[in-house]
Amino acid sequence: MIINHPILGPRDSQEFTYLGDATLIDRPDWQAEDAADQFHDYLYLRDNPAGEHRELWFHEQGDRSWLVVTRNTVTHEILTVELARDVARTRGRSK
């Protein structure tokens, strides 16, 4: 597969390490009332769609960027690629 890196352009997916669903960015608040349940759902449950899937890839053999790739899990077509750090900030993550 070819991942169109937002900074480096098209790169072979072989250079990347796959993690999984991009919701792993949304780590729950450890002090929330139902933190235990939230962490369970966060770590263990997946939508696992047959179709568009937002997922995390690490450019391990490249610039060490974590990317959020939107890819169709049926056709493997890649629709968008973003820097995970930007996505994380837009999802309200900070320190």
Binding site: Q14, E60, D63, R64, R85
Partner: protein
């Protein structure tokens, strides 16, 4: 191989020799390079501009753009990642490059000595394309001087720096695997040439 005996310890090259290794083929030379000091420079949050200007004045030129490298006098630098660069200088005159660089950028940046984290082989000659296309997936034939590509060769992550398209490249890889990287380069050369 440089002024290493400035104290009681003698240096050895990544391949373990006291002199850099050279391998010659028809139309290709593979040279182990040991006379450069390296330091990584990363901008701290909010310090991106400060680092760039401080580095520019220390290096005598701007830090390179993504996926590229440049040289300014005795200095050279390549882009490693977002807000992260590798700076290189002659080892003889800059064995303490990291300290010098840190002084230059101060609080705006983080600097880490990288000199001995890497081994470097320069490949020169008309057969570079033929050999490199056996080693890495970079589109080298479409490449240009100043390209700095992180790629992998025979399972090893390396930086590939283009000096002159089709004629001269530097391959910078992990020092502990220098032997394996060297074997891969020589093997590819024997196979392709």
């Amino acid at each position: 191989m440089g002024k290493f005996d400035n104290h009681g310890l003698n240096a050895v090259s990544p391949l373990g020799g006291s002199e850099p290794q050279v391998d010659a083929f028809a139309g290709l030379l593979i040279r182990e390079v040991t006379d450069r000091a390296l330091a990584s420079l990363s901008a701290r949050q909010g310090g991106e501009d400060a680092v760039k200007s401080a580095a520019a004045s220390y290096l005598g030129g701007a830090l390179p753009e993504p996926a590229s490298w440049n040289a300014n006098g005795e200095f050279a630098a390549w882009w490693m990642g977002p807000d992260l660069w590798m700076v290189s200088a002659p080892h003889d005159s800059h064995e303490l490059l990291a300290a010098e660089l840190k002084d230059a950028v101060g609080e705006a940046g983080s600097v880490v000595e990288q000199t001995d984290g890497w081994c470097r082989f320069d490949m020169e000659g008309g057969r570079c394309f033929d050999v490199l296309e056996r080693l890495c997936n970079a589109d080298i034939r479409a490449g240009k001087p100043g390209d700095a590509t992180r790629t992998s060769m025979e399972h090893l992550g390396v930086f590939l720096l283009c000096h002159e398209a089709g004629q001269k490249y530097s391959i910078v890889g992990p020092r502990s695997s220098a032997g394996s990287l060297h074997h891969a380069l020589v093997g590819a050369a024997q196979s392709a040439i």
